[in-house]
């Protein structure tokens, strides 16, 4: 499959998705995903491609978004007149301006110094947003209305599907631009500076300048994401630029996988789904998210995408079917183990006398249910310990050319 085909398929999926899942809810989840994808990809320009760990990336998302809402308000009150389709660009421009200003002093150094400055700036901006009420609207935030302004081919964006297509179009454009950026000399140099700033300096590039360019671009795209957020939700509040939002984008990029262009996209999709769906089934969803995150950091340093990409060798060797049986054998006890653990966590948290889990009525107060769950989980764990080594062996075999020992590409 050529690169062009991938982009065409990507565009087609974006077009078709809301036709398949056409409820109000799924539309709004898709729109949320497009925002998260741009934001996470822009974050990866810093961390994945530029090696700059930021704890304050929400600043550019939020500032872009706030300016976008103010622009929407100006359209509403007829101080300005342009199409609402350009609002994300307003966000992008102001994200860029903010990044140009802050980047001018924060990108002197990478590493801890950069991380700490980003943390400090993030806290400062978030705190100021509560103090400077006339611009940020204090705790209530500022809100606008997207339906004013000249209609775009007769569309006034009152309906959610119009907003989705607008967001998807901007997302496609932004992802394409960010991808192309990685192919430019500036994008390549960002990688070089991340890996070895001294060498980059030796061949005549200023590491500081390269970081500054990446930083500014990341601010621009974060601002676009903020602008789309403004159009979709029609409100921006302090939470859009505080540390929690900055933390969430780090989580997305990291869980997805920093080393791959597509990694943050995967992370954004998975986290949006967890955020919007899991929270309906359990109020402990944040706990599970935390566990998932820690396990990812510990066992999948290359993220979920890394896990998929590990199978490339086996795929190319045409030996995936060797893994099929061991995977199934591990997945069944694995799933039982995880479900058992979840059941115990949920049961310890249950308030009612009866607790229904997967159609099973459990009694948190009695010992019977606990004994049952404990034994099931323990058995699953025991079986898991037996099947994992077999998976390891199968993995080694699947990744090795016939009669060519010692070629391993990582382990599960």
């Amino acid at each position: 499959m050529g690169k062009l085909t991938i982009w065409i398929v990507f565009a087609a999926v974006l077009l078709v998705l809301p036709q398949i899942f056409d409820s109000v809810l799924s539309l709004s989840i898709f729109t949320q995903m497009t925002i998260a994808i741009i934001f996470a990809l822009s974050y990866n320009m810093l961390l994945g491609q530029g090696g700059m760990l930021s704890f304050g990336h929400a600043v550019y998302f939020g500032l872009g978004g706030f300016l976008a809402v103010h622009a929407m308000m100006m359209i509403e009150f007829e101080t300005l007149s342009f199409s609402i389709t350009l609002i994300p660009l307003v966000g992008g421009v102001f994200g860029l301006l903010a990044a140009l200003f802050i980047g001018s002093f924060s990108t002197h150094k990478a590493g801890t110094v950069f991380a700490m400055i980003s943390l400090g700036i993030g806290e400062l901006v978030a705190a100021s947003s509560l103090i400077l009420v006339s611009f940020f609207g204090g705790e209530a935030g500022v809100s606008g209305d997207r339906t004013f302004g000249p209609p775009f081919f007769g569309i006034d964006f009152a309906q959610d599907d119009h907003v989705y297509y607008l967001a998807a179009a901007w997302m496609f454009f932004a992802v394409l631009c960010m991808y192309l950026f990685t192919q430019t000399p500036a994008g390549r140099m960002a990688n070089a500076v991340r890996d070895n700033p001294e060498r980059a300096e030796f061949i005549g590039y200023s590491a500081r300048r390269v970081r500054f360019i990446s930083f500014a671009m990341a601010g621009f795209f974060a601002g676009i994401a903020g602008g789309i957020f403004a159009v979709n939700y029609e409100i921006l509040t302090e939470e859009n630029l505080n540390a929690a939002t900055s933390g969430r984008v780090l989580l997305m990029a990291y869980i997805g996988g920093l080393g791959f262009f597509i990694g943050p996209v995967v992370g954004a999709v998975v986290l949006t789904l967890i955020n919007s769906l899991l929270s309906n089934y359990t109020d402990l969803w944040m706990l599970y998210l935390g566990i998932l995150f820690l396990l990812t950091v510990m066992f999948l340093p290359r993220g979920l995408t890394g896990l998929l990409m590990m199978h490339r060798v086996a795929w190319q060797l045409g030996r995936m079917r060797l893994l099929l049986l061991p995977y199934t054998l591990t997945a069944i006890p694995g799933a039982v183990f995880i479900l058992g653990m979840i059941a115990m966590i949920e049961m310890s948290h249950a308030e009612d006398a009866e607790f229904v889990y997967l159609g099973l009525a459990l009694a948190p107060a009695g010992y019977g249910s606990w004994a049952l769950l404990l034994s099931v989980t323990a058995v699953a764990f025991f079986i898991l310990r037996r099947t994992l080594p077999r998976l390891h062996e199968a993995w080694a075999e699947a990744n090795t050319l016939p009669r060519l020992q010692g070629h391993k590409d990582g382990r599960p």
Partner: protein, 423 residues
């Protein structure tokens, strides 16, 4: 990739068949179809305790008063779903869309005026843009006056007294006490904290010009590690009463700080009870904390309220009925549905306007037509362990009502200019 073009119409066909079936059966099922209520409030995170207890009360009251007695409109039952808004304006909108896509037309919410204001705006816009799937907003706790003032709208009904009404009552109580001559105001640095400060100053000036405001301090919300420096200022100002709009951990820390410093002055507040706060203030805060609220506190004598509380606490031994006004809202909603003979938001809204119902405590609650603000008696209660018959947090302590302002005296001018939708 050949899969897609053929799969899409097939899926579509499936969906159409499903819709056709559901339409065919809907005529039969309409009488028994539940009336869905979405309870959009924090169910996770730091503020989850309030949201969870609110949901449990609403869910229990729906069963206790209606579903167990055959429902409303001849057999339709209330179905309450908690949707977690994570205390966020954007999440609330997502959950609103979820509720709408599940066919819900009634939304309860209230924790946090910022969230409520975002929801109110979002619902008004949604109803304007989608007249075929309208939503009614029952605000049971957000107290920013603007919600029934400048930002009021037809779909929003508030069942709590707004902060200016509460401040009227609070300042009246202070004005009656000649011992209070110097008042210190401290609040969280955001719209509500500022509104409390401004209202207190202007109302005290009108009622007791001799009272001196010896301090008007704002501190960052949720950021203060240690309130001692603030308390030093309060002590050195010579204040003999403190007014605060603080809630949550900021309220506990401020209250405990004042008590630790040995400052024995009354503290007038809005949110110094329930969800662990009563237990934490405990003995140290006895007879020192005054809370303004609607729905009479202790000692409870109304039989209906006692029965309901006993039934609720029998089912949830670790819970309290923290916000009886949720039950008030549900009662008025059910009455309006019966009166309108319909569960359509527009019909319910019209029916609720100018409606009067009797609450569990036996007092009358009135929904003003002009701004959709509910009025009932307002009370000032003190944190104590004496003379109470329903305690809070199983701590032996609770609020005991000291001072009741009759409903008609709490009525303030309406500043709402409501645009009514044409149906």
């Amino acid at each position: 990739m050949k899969l897609l073009p053929s799969a899409v119409p097939r899926l579509h066909l499936l969906a159409q068949i499903a819709t056709a079936f559901s339409l065919a059966f809907s005529g039969l099922a309409l009488a028994q179809e539940p009336i869905k209520i979405a309870f959009i409030d924090p169910q996770s995170g730091v503020f989850a305790a309030t949201g969870e207890s609110g949901f449990m009360v609403l869910d229990f009251a729906a069963d206790y008063f209606y579903n167990d007695k055959g429902g409303v409109l001849g057999g339709r039952k209330f179905e309450v779903t908690a949707l977690d808004n994570k205390s966020s304006a954007a999440e609330s909108q997502l959950q609103l869309r979820r509720a709408i896509s599940e066919g819900t037309q009634i939304v309860f919410s209230g924790n946090g005026s910022a969230v409520a204001s975002a929801l109110s705006t979002a619902i008004e816009r949604h109803n304007r843009r989608n007249p075929d799937s309208q939503v009614l907003f029952i605000n049971y706790a957000a107290v920013d006056p603007i919600l029934t003032g400048a930002d009021c709208n037809f779909w929003h009904f508030r069942f709590d007294a707004h902060s200016d009404m509460k401040m009227e009552v609070m300042t009246s109580h202070i004005a009656k006490n000649p011992a209070i001559t110097k008042v210190y105001i401290i609040g969280q640095d955001y719209s509500f904290g500022k509104a409390v400060g401004d209202a207190a100053i202007s109302m005290l000036a009108a009622k007791r010009p001799d009272i001196e405001i010896v301090g008007n301090e704002l501190h960052p919300i949720g950021q203060v590690k240690d309130f001692t420096p603030y308390i030093t200022k309060i002590v050195s100002s010579g204040a003999n009463a403190v007014i605060t709009g603080n809630w949550g951990a900021d309220m506990v820390a401020l209250g405990r700080g004042i008590m630790d410093a040995g400052l024995e002055v009354p503290i007038y507040t809005f949110y110094a009870a329930y969800d662990g706060i009563t237990a934490t203030l405990g003995e140290a805060g006895k007879d020192q904390i005054y809370v303004v609220h609607n729905d009479f506190a202790n000692p409870v004598t109304a039989p209906l309220r006692l029965e309901f509380t006993a039934a609720y606490e029998a089912k949830n031994p670790h819970q309290d009925i923290t916000q009886p006004r949720i039950v008030n809202a549900l009662m008025m909603l059910a009455t309006a549905i019966e009166k309108a003979g319909s569960a359509e938001p527009y019909d319910i809204a019209i029916a609720m306007e100018d409606m009067r119902i009797t609450t569990m405590t036996g007092e009358e609650l009135w929904m003003r037509r002009d701004d959709h603000q509910a009025f009932q008696n307002l009370n000032i209660s003190v944190h104590t362990n004496e003379g109470i018959n329903i305690d809070t947090d199983n701590s032996g302590f609770a609020l005991r009502t000291e001072f009741v302002v009759p409903r008609d005296e709490t009525i303030t001018q309406s500043s709402c200019r409501m645009t009514r939708p044409q149906q």
